[in-house]
Amino acid sequence: MGHGKQIIPEDSLIRMELVVVGSSLGGVKALQTILSQLPATFPLPIAIAQHRHADERGMERTLVKVLQQRSALPVSEPDDNERIEPGRVYLAPADYHLLVESGTFSLSADGPVHHARPSIDLLFESAAEAFHDRVLGLILSGSGCDGQAGAAVLRRLGGVLVVQNPATAECDLLPRLVLKSVTPDHLLDLSQIGPFLVHSLNLSAATSNENNCSQRKNALPGRSS
């Protein structure tokens, strides 16, 4: 796994329309690292299920703020029915499940999955069913089994699965569990993930969708949070 090696985009990545990320313990730091490596021109939407406290209201340092500090892309928590827009980072709100339908997000207040709400499994499974081979799933540091089933479904339905190398994860349990049940498309050190996303997706998007890309980049909606 070369450090500093140019990563050659696979043909399959040209199709990508959505990135979904799953993480729990140790995930926030990993997300900060990755987000800080993505340019403001990153062309895809990114939806994140990060395990978090059920109630954040009244807290100064919200998770959105923490991630926004390191991100050139706008970070927000979507409402139910919110459209999925390119070049934005969407964080699953506390105490809700974040689901993906074909062009919009859907929220659920159903019971926790493997004690987790938001659940990584539900995000990945819904994204896989809606996007098939046009979704890239990223599994990061985490401590439970929420995410194991979802990662397998995502891959089975044709998506690209990237798993953080457990050796570089603050908590390696989740990446290890995922690796036990499914072979990912890419196994990357934390430091390689950001560059991988930039080179593989940016290049692919730029070469195959030039018109779409510039339209999408200019179409960032104004939004109050």
Binding site: M1, D55, R57, G58, E77, P78, D79, D80, N81, E82, R83, P93, Y96, L99, E101, T104, S106, L107, S108, A109, D110, G111, L122, S126, E129, H132, D133, R156, L157, G158, N165, P166, A167, R176, L179, T183, P184, D185, H186, L187, L188, S224
Partner: protein
Amino acid sequence: MELPQASVAKEKLSAPGGEASSALDAREESRRQRIEEIEIQLLLEGVFLLTGNDFRKYSYASVKRRIWTCVVEEKFSTISSYQEKVLRDPATLQRLLMRLTVNISGMFRDPFFYLAIRKKIIPLLRTYPFVNIWVAGCAQGDEVYSMAILLKEEGLFEKTRIYATDLNEVVLDQARNGVFPLEPMQRYTQNYFKAGGTSAFSNYYTVQGKQVTFSSSLKKNVMFAQHNLATDSSFHEFHLIICRNVLIYFNKELQERVHRLFYDSLVMFGVLALGHKETLRFAELEGLFIEWDTENKLYRKIR
């Protein structure tokens, strides 16, 4: 533990005939998904024909998950085989209905919402000679009793009528009885205080074993009735409609229908209160309301 090599990992492309088998997998998967869609449609059609309860416009992801939970619990492996039991066994049907309609909430859940009620809505309600409040999708009654307590403490209970409706007769009966499990009461007490409670939460209920019964004085001005948001029409005019974490279970079309129903059921400048992450922002009727409190999702009818 041995870690698999990166980028040699994609078995389906690297194996001989890998391209063909991956395309085959994808087709198989599409077909499987299509059949599942059909099975769900048939089951919901059956439930509708049998009971009049229409879940066909509920959010697909949510309904699918709840159905599968039932299928697994009843020890079937396909939705179709489960359907037979649903149609023929009333108890199985009832369990499915409970699963599809019941949303867990909790008393004074999301205390910031109740604080916003106290700060913004109560002053508004004081200006009316009488107040009508609709709690739509009241389930076991958590919001109803929370509102009753709040109104009592704010001195508005006497001039208020609360209409509490739900699709499910069984939970409506539970709500009418006002009997709750004891176990979560401590957590509810904390919520009650965070929500601006001015008394002692335990003053409002009595304990019997592992259950608590809320004071019947809280129910004095509450009317419990069955009402189906998907099919029924407006039945009264309200100053405040509370419908929280119910609409997220409906698909967009059904949500629009319910928005219209709520609009028709509100007095001018009346308030619609949605769940913390629900919004009118992408709705057809958005222009008929202003977003009065963005954080707490309070909308005011202005046209």
